[in-house]
Each structure stands twice: as structure tokens, then as C-alpha cells.
Symmetry: C3
Subunit: 443 residues, 3 copies
């Protein structure tokens, strides 16, 4: 795979490194489901992709939910009475439970302890906690930090605001030849967590750059949104556009060293599901395909029964199945440039399948075409064995009866889609195949 966004061709290693650097730039920002951190993140993405930044006011009804108050935080700490910050937001934004209400108060250790979260099994790591929908406050710290705290009084401060404001998301629309859309969705609501949000942001951003440089049959819509409430808000505000979405991917957890996991859409046999499964089968790498369950990332919303969109979730090790998940160990070191580049490459390959997966019609359906006289078949007969491109030509001709798409043909022939697509273009050059009805290739 080479990457040719903006006309520049990069090696996988260079692309992986570039994505890692992009993640490093976004890593320090304190994101949540609303607030300045999201806006700052989107502005960094804008340097690569000209997305629009949209604000939806607090209190807006979005289906069964309401856009919450905007949360912003300047500083937070736990100080002992000697003035030492024993827990300091400036050292890690994970130290504060996201959406904590402001507090400034002296209190006993006993009282404070009720608001402290640690991971006793991973005593060096800070957990990540949120309390979006229940007013509360709290600190997260490593268990070793907790063990060093003495039973004395502390000054506790969370200098945050929870007030009328907006939920912010980024959107970029890339038109193609037809109005049918492919949706790419990444969440942007986690603070300094790499795999769980920045990896998806990076792959979605670089994928968009790649897409801009490609000829496109489909139109593409790329969303950078806060998880859950963001996709609910977007769906609520764009109900009329949803029917145009024919395929989609949620990108998340795509930078760790684990093998690819593809979670199918609720439909289970959507074209995007079949395309991803096909690629993984032919990858020669370990992988896992899992059925849809109504738990996970924003595919929960896209696949809710009222929408039932053909949106799958593409990741490496699934959330909560790696110990670093939702801890301070989901950091820059945990991100592997090679994994990022490979993830991007799968997304590009899946889109290539969607773009090329059409139905063609064999113009000579009765008996075989004489490939030999067109220079497409070995001249000397009698030798044992089949050659893979000859087989691809034969398969495409045999199954191009108006009822099989190229992906159908790839599946039935056990040939890689790219081989089938290559055979198709050769046959089209020889006027042996013509495009079938456009509608049918979409069903």
C-alpha cells in the first residue's frame, strides 16, 4: 500500500509515523463530550481536512436525550495542608472524573476517599471515569498514589464549569458521482486516551485525505463526534439524510498491536460486512469477525432499529479486552505506527471494494468466449494446471449473468476481490462485459 493523498506517495512506515505524530499532537488536549477540548481537536483536524465545525445548544432535544450543559475545566488538584499538590490535573487530565461539578473545599481524608477512583490490580495506572448524566465529582489516581495519602485534611479543587453552551462536532462531506453515501464515524470525546479515540480520529483523517485524491462513485460523509450523544445528536438533526447512507464504518481502537476485529452491522450480511470479511479472509493475518451486539461504540445508534444502517465497527483488540483500556496506559507508546498504517489500508481496501462492486453482463453468455484469439489464454494446450488470472477471467464471464456482483464472484471463486476486479477491467477493455443495471448493484 502506498498513500497518495495530496498527490504524495508515502510508504506504510511513513504513513504510520505520520499518524502517530498526529496522535501525539492531539494527545494532551482534555476532551469530553462537550467543551473547548473537542473544538481544539477539530481545529487540528481542520489543518488536514476542511471539515465544518457545528455547535448544537445545550438543552436541545435529540430523540430520547437532551444535549447536556457544556463542561470546561481549567485546573484541578488535591493539596495537602502543606500546599503540595498530591493529585494534579496539570500532570494528567485523567485525574478528574469527566463532567465533575466544580468544587473548592477542605475535607477529611475519609470524606475525600468517597470520591477517589483507583485500579488496585494495576497500581501504577490512572483509571478513566466519567459522570455525564449524574451530577457528581471525583478524582482518579494510581493506586500507589492513593496508598501514599495520609489520613489528614486536604484542600480539594476542581475549577470547572458546567453551563449552557454547545455540543460540538465536525463533519466533512465529499461528493461522488452518485448521492448514495458511505459514512465514516470516529468519536472525539475522550481526554488523553490514544487507542480509544485518537487512533480512530487519525485513521479517519488520513482516510479522508486519501479519499479526496481518489475518483469516487459514492459520496462520503466523515463525522468526528462525541460518542453516543454526538451520534444521537447528528442523527436527530439529519434524519432526512440518513436514508442516503448505504454503507458505513465506525473507526475505533485501530492503533494497538492486536489483530483486526470486525464487528458486523445489525443486518449481518450488509455489503460492508461482506467486503470486510472478504478482505480479512484473504489477508493471511489472524483476525476476528464478531456479530453485532447492541453494546460498543456509535454503531449502537446507527444500528438502532429505527435506522438499521449498514454500519459496522472496525477495530483491532475490542474495547475492554485489553488491560490498557480506559487507563493512563492507553498512551502514545501503546500506539503502533505499523498497526495504524495497516488499519488505514484495510479501510481503503474496503472502500475500493464498495466502489468497484458492481454487476456486469457477459455479452457472450452462450458457451465460453474464445479468450485465446484475444491473447487472453495460453496458446499451447495440454499442460496441466490453471492460472489464476485465466481462472478469474473465466469466473467473471461465467457469473456475469446479471445476478452476481463482483464481490459475489470473489466469494464464490475464492479469489481475492482485486484479482476479480482486474479481470473485469481486462474483459471490459475487450468489450466482453458491460455494466449491468446500476440499481441492482446496490441492493
Amino acid at each position: 500500500m502506498t498513500h497518495s493523498g495530496y498527490g504524495v506517495s508515502l510508504s506504510p512506515q511513513e504513513i504510520g509515523d505520520a499518524m502517530h505524530a498526529f496522535i501525539a499532537r492531539l494527545y494532551p488536549i482534555c476532551r469530553s463530550i462537550t467543551g473547548h477540548g473537542v473544538r481544539e481537536t477539530l481545529r487540528v483536524i481542520q489543518e488536514r481536512v476542511p471539515l465544518t465545525i457545528n455547535d448544537v445548544p445545550s438543552g436541545t432535544k435529540v430523540f430520547d436525550w437532551t444535549v447536556p450543559l457544556e463542561w470546561n475545566i481549567q485546573d484541578a488538584y488535591i493539596k495537602n495542608l502543606r500546599g503540595e499538590r498530591v493529585v494534579d490535573f496539570r500532570q494528567s487530565n485523567l485525574h478528574v472524573v469527566s463532567y465533575s461539578r466544580p468544587i473548592k473545599q477542605r475535607m477529611s481524608f475519609a470524606e475525600l476517599k468517597e470520591h477517589l477512583h483507583t485500579l488496585p490490580d494495576r497500581p501504577d495506572w490512572i483509571p478513566y471515569r466519567t459522570s455525564y448524566y449524574k451530577e457528581s465529582w471525583g478524582f482518579c489516581l494510581s493506586h500507589n498514589q492513593l496508598l501514599q495519602l495520609k489520613d489528614e485534611e486536604y484542600d480539594v479543587c476542581i475549577d470547572a464549569s458546567l453551563s449552557e453552551g454547545h455540543l460540538t462536532y465536525g463533519e466533512y462531506f465529499l461528493p461522488g458521482q452518485i448521492q448514495d453515501e458511505v459514512l465514516i464515524s470516529a468519536h472525539v470525546c475522550h481526554p488523553s486516551l490514544c487507542n480509544d479515540n485518537l487512533s480512530g480520529i487519525a485513521v479517519a483523517t488520513f482516510l479522508t485525505e486519501w479519499l479526496r485524491a481518489q475518483p469516487r462513485r459514492y459520496s462520503y460523509r466523515i463525522l468526528f463526534i462525541p460518542g453516543t450523544i454526538g451520534s444521537i445528536t447528528w442523527l436527530s438533526e439529519h434524519r432526512e439524510q440518513v436514508s442516503g447512507i448505504k454503507h458505513g464504518l465506525v473507526l475505533t481502537g485501530v492503533g494497538d498491536a492486536g489483530p483486526i476485529t470486525y464487528k458486523k452491522s445489525r443486518r449481518g450480511d450488509a455489503e460492508i460486512d461482506r467486503a470486510m470479511v472478504h478482505l480479512l479472509k484473504h489477508s493471511g493475518q489472524p483476525y476476528k469477525v464478531v456479530d453485532f451486539i447492541p453494546y460498543g461504540y456509535d454503531e449502537r445508534q446507527y444500528c438502532s432499529p429505527g435506522f438499521n444502517l449498514a454500519v459496522g465497527c472496525f477495530s483491532r483488540t475490542p474495547h475492554s479486552q485489553y488491560p490498557e483500556y480506559h487507563t493512563s496506559a492507553d498512551n502514545l507508546e501503546f500506539m503502533k505506527p505499523q498497526a495504524l498504517a495497516e488499519s488505514l489500508s484495510y479501510c481503503e481496501a474496503a472502500i475500493e471494494i464498495l466502489e468497484q462492486n458492481k454487476i456486469y453482463l457477459n455479452q457472450n453468455p452462450f458457451c465460453e468466449v474464445q479468450l485465446g484469439k484475444r491473447g487472453l489464454y495460453r496458446a499451447m494446450g495440454g499442460q496441466a494446471g490453471e492460472k489464476s488470472m485465466e481462472m478469474a477471467l473465466l469466473w467473471v464471464l461465467n457469473l456475469s449473468d446479471g445476478r452476481h456482483s463482483l464481490l459475489d464472484i470473489a466469494e464464490r471463486s475464492h479469489l481475492p476481490f482485486r484479482t476479480v476486479a482486474h479481470a473485469t477491467s481486462i474483459l471490459r477493455e475487450h468489450s466482453l462485459l458491460v455494466s449491468g443495471p446500476e440499481q441492482e448493484s446496490r441492493s
Copy 2:
């Protein structure tokens, strides 16, 4: 499982013991496909279930069959010329081939031997044999008994009558909210054989008691009938009622220590088949599910092509796959109270599924419902892992699109039906779900 028939709550142990005692009471009675033994058996059942006892006259045409003459037996023996009963009906009613014609005659051992049946491989056991449709007579005895008989003359007597009378069956109808019926069928035509007839009679009787104490959507019809000719007779006399039977179970061989075997209906994917398979999959116990074959018990008639009812056969070790089958070793010791109680419990659980398996409609199909604001979802976010009731709530909401019944949801989610049903009732209490169209839940 606790049993609350008549408002009394019993432990599985107590229920098992009660069923075993019930079987012990019925054990000595000499049943056949007609005659006083059947009537006496039905009268004992009547002490627990107010069934009606019906008589159909000998000679009545029932489809391709004819109700046979009624057979009754007072005594039978083989006496040597010293007056000793070497085979004595009073010791075991298995000693006489069922439906033997009366005989009283002195004969040589050679002549007698033609009419003797033994099991050389199980020399202590008496086999069970019948000759319903060919006039004949015979004795069954243990092989060891046979070996002791000398080559001398014997006085042979079967004091039985074969004459115009009736075929008798018991029927109990328990109305529910709707006319659609669940059929429970047990055969009552075997003499002193426990697993093969008394175990099914006991479970059907106790199940009926339990049903009477339950709220019921379906109506229930419980049949205690002679095998084959009894179900044929009932079907022939109630052709107009058959279409109301939506689900059914033949109960037989439910008291031995072996694992459960469920034999599917001829349809193979009927709701009762899916309910039973679901229960067995989630039981954590060994079990066997077998496809329908046109051999076995009365499911042969219920699943004949003209009726093709959704009736499966529920048993433990299948007939003829345990050595005690159709021998004197199928006795009270062979019956395990715990197995009887467990069998009953599966039937109750299957009926609970049928009763509750409806289609509901998610009232908020677009995006997820905000469970948190209703107290149905953990407040603190970020922790890894899913909780099974939260997952059940999400699954029920996600799949309640008018096309999935609760059993469909349980199957797809791999959750136990009871968890799904519990989630459903919580969601209904919160007005998040309403009942779907009644007809569709029935298809």
C-alpha cells in the same frame, strides 16, 4: 423450581417424591389399549385432575383403523401337573402377552414353547409383548424361569375376554385467554411399566395441577390416551378442534436417570421445538436434540402429514435405547424422583416461554433510549464490562422492531429467555415497549 399447584409450594425433592408415590400407586394396575385397567388408571388421575373419561365403542371407524374389541383379564397361569403355578399372572401382569385370546388347555411343553417369550441376554427379566391386531396368545417369562421348565405336560390358562366394549381415554381442557391450545399427551396403555407410561402420566398430571394455578394466555388440552389407537381415535373424533392446537408435547420416558432427549416436531422449527432447544442449551446439563422420525410415540399421529401439528416428544433416554425398556426392569426402582421433578420443571419452563413469547415494539426506535435517566443504567461511566441485565435491556430494545419475538431475541443474544422476559417487563413498566400485533406473535 418450586411447585405451587393448589397454592402449596413444594421443593423439587418433595415434588419428585410425590410423583414417585403416584407412580407406585398406578404400578400394579394391568393396563392395555382398552379395558378396566385404563379406566382405573384414569380414576386415580381424577383424584388430582378433574378429567372427563370418554368411551368410544368397539368397531368405530377411526381413519384407517377400527376401535378394537375390549380386552380384560382376570387371571392367567401355567401350571404343571402337580398343580404348581410355574408362571403366574398374579405375580406380574407382564407374564401375559397383552390382548391374548382366552385359553384353557393342557398341552405338551413343545406346543407351549411356541407361545413363550423370554430375553436370553437378560435372563432375570420378563419381557413385555403385545398382540393387539393379530389374534394370538402367549406368556412372557424370565429366561431363567424357562430353563427350569421340564419337558412335561402343562395346564395353560388365560382367563381373559375379548368382546365388544370401548376404548377409553381421559381428557382435560383448561381454558386460557385465547382459544389457541397447547396439547399435552401421555399414553396409558402399558401394564406394570414405569418409565414407559407411568412417568409420562405422572408428569402430565402434576403439570396440569401447576397449569391450573397459573395465569394462562393459551388454553391447554391434556390427553391420557392409549398409544397409537388412542391418539388416532381422539384425532378422528375431534378433527374440527385440531386446528386450534398451536403447540404440543408428548410426554414419555421422563423418569429414568438419563439426560433429556427432545425429539423435534415434523416441522423441525416450530416454536415448541425452538423453546425446548433454547432451554436445553442454557441448562448446563447434557442433553440430546433429535430430528423427527415417523417412529416413536403418539407424535407419529399428531405429525402425520394431514395434521402436521407442532408437537414434539419430550423424554429422557429414548425408548429402546435403555436395556430396561419393555421389560420387568422398568420398575419403581428405575424411576428417580429427581429426574421426574426435573422433567416437570422443563415442561413448565417451556410453557412459560410459549406463554411469554410475544413481539413487542420499541416506542423509541431511533437511537437508544436513555436508560440512565430512568435508573436502568449505571451512573458512573468508563468502567469496562457489560452487565447482563443492561445487555438484556439493550437487546430487547434493539430487536423489538416488530419482527422479533422474545424467543428470537433470546436466541440472537444468547441470553436465557427468562432474562429477556424480565428485561421486557422492566421496559414495559417504563412504557418503553408495547405489545406488538397479537397475530404475528403466533405465526
Copy 3:
């Protein structure tokens, strides 16, 4: 299996030997896709089957192809200047690349070498090569022969003609009760190669003899044609007849010692596919069933998308999977009489299934028929175990509801088709079954 063509009953051994002798007679003839060798072969077949021999002129357009010039060869050799034939067509017709243009020329070894084909891995065997559609010439020889050739001048001669003539094929039509046809196709275009063409010719010939002696529901069309161009020509000239072909088999490679391989039709679930799979499953022998691929023998043409006929390919070891394939080692020794006889027997059994596979209607669909009163069921009840013919009677009655053919019943019951068919004829004799609608048994 006994063979009763012409009213004579032969043992499998005798049939195998007869087929082997038939192959031996055809072995020396130099066949190609046109020419005298094909005609001579067809005349030998005519001694057993009164087929018509048809000639189609060179230059005839047949779909995307053109009937080629006719090729005939009298002699060919490579002589050293001492006059010794170092390669001699008279010793093996494989020595000349089929369709070589005539040549008579002295040339250097270097120049000659460009036209020589050998198998270095099998140094004793002569390969088989063709150049039908590219004008060329060449010799095939064993690698050991090549190693003995010195770097000196040679006189090279191929006394062949390539000129306007005909493509020749043999056809035999055997009418049955109905016009629907079964097609049997064997290729006749290979020179001295046994498994690859003579085995199929022999089995097709003997199968035709057998068919002529059978009562026939279907009509049968047997084709002896040059591979590829022959089937294309026949299909092109008989487009209106093709729709009558309901089932078919290509016979090839049926004489080696390997297990049977059945390659399904493009449809994959055609009746002939199911019949063959059924026979193989019940054979107790090793076998292989493979899915259709658009490479192989004339099934490529019959299964082209415009025709999509229900034609499978029956062989033993598939082409190019045995080392002898397309070499001089595919000789008479490689042909096993027992394998030939067994192959024939499978074809006969498959045809018996097609002939008998109809839908019947149980005339007593409500409850079971009383088999006992018709002498079709054991009189003494109570014994464990089922008997296979009783089970077949029960299965046929249970599934003869107008929606199951005998093959459906055999598949569902796991009984051999012959047992099901035998049960069917017993039930028909007792007027318990009648024929269902003819159309439906054909779908």
C-alpha cells in the same frame, strides 16, 4: 450390479473387461478435434450404438468461435542424417503436437529444440501437447530421448494437412415417455490417451446399451464430441433443443483406480447433483464432491451462463491431479476394469434415481395407515428396534404430502434411495400412494 444390455446379463468383472477391450481397440487411433481419427472412433462406437455421425464445415461460426480447418496426419518423424528416426510418429501419436502444420526441413538441433516438449520430472513419459488455435508445429518426446539427441543436423518431417473440411461428432437419441431429456456427453478428441477420453467413451457407450434395454421415462441424448469446440458447435447448432435438457453428465476420467469425484453443476443443487451426492454418501466408499468451477471439460459450455444446464461432471481422480494426466502413461495399464465397471454402475444408479424420483400422495394423510392389517408390519408388538423397510414405509407415507419427492424423502430419512423407491412401490401396490402432479416432480 448386473448388466443386461441386449438382454445379456454380465457380471461387473465381465463388463469391466469388455470395456477395457473396447478401450484397447480405440487406443491406437490418432484423434484430434477434427479429422479421420474422430470418424474412425465414431464408426467403432457405431458397432455397439447406432449413432449418427455429423459433419460441420470448417469456417462455420459457432457463437464466439469458428469451426477450424480439418487436421489429418499420415506420418511424422525426426531423422538424423544417418537416416535413423530418433522420434517416430508411428511409435506413438503423442509424438506430434496436435494440429501441427506440415513441415519438411533439415535444421540444426538448436533450431529444432525450440519445437521439442518433454517432461524432465517424468523422464520416461511423452507429454501430450496441442496447438489448435495458433499455427505452429512441434514434437513431444520423453526427456530421456531428448538427452540422447546430439547437437547435429536433423531432417524434420510432419506429413500432415490443415485444410477446409469438417468437425465431426456422434449423436444418439433414445426417446422415452416424455420429451424431457437427460444428456450424456463424452469427448473424443484425444489421441492415445486412455483415461482422458477413452474411459468416458467406453462408459458412455456401455451406458447407452444399458439404457436401450430399460423402460424409460426420460428421453436420452448421448454425445460423442470433440472437447470444447465440439460442445460449442453442438450447442450452437441445437439451441432450440437445449431447453429440453433437464439433467446431464459429462463423463471423463472414469477408468483410473482413484475414488469417484463428482463436480456439481453451476446450479449446485440440481437434481442430478443431489442424486450423485446421495449415491456417493451411501456408497460406503471414499469419494469427493466438488463445487462447480468454470474450468474442466465440456460442463464449461453446458454451464455457461446463457445455458446454465443442470449438467455435472462425473470422474474418478480429477484431471491434472494424477501424474499420468496428458502423458503417455495414461495408457491401457492405467485403466482398471473394476473401476470402469463401478463408474458405469454409478451412472446407471443415478439414472435410476432420476427415472424414479417423483412426488407421490399419501391417500390417508390423517394419522398413520394401519400397515399391520395389510401384512406390512410385524404382528408382535413390544420388541425394541425398528426395521429398515418398515421405517421406509413410514417415511414415505409421512412425507408424501405433495411437497417431497422420493429423493427428498431419502435425504431426510437417511435411507438409500432404492429402499425408499422399493417402499414406494409396495405402497402403490396397496393403493396407499398415488402419483402426484407430474410438473412438480420436475422443478
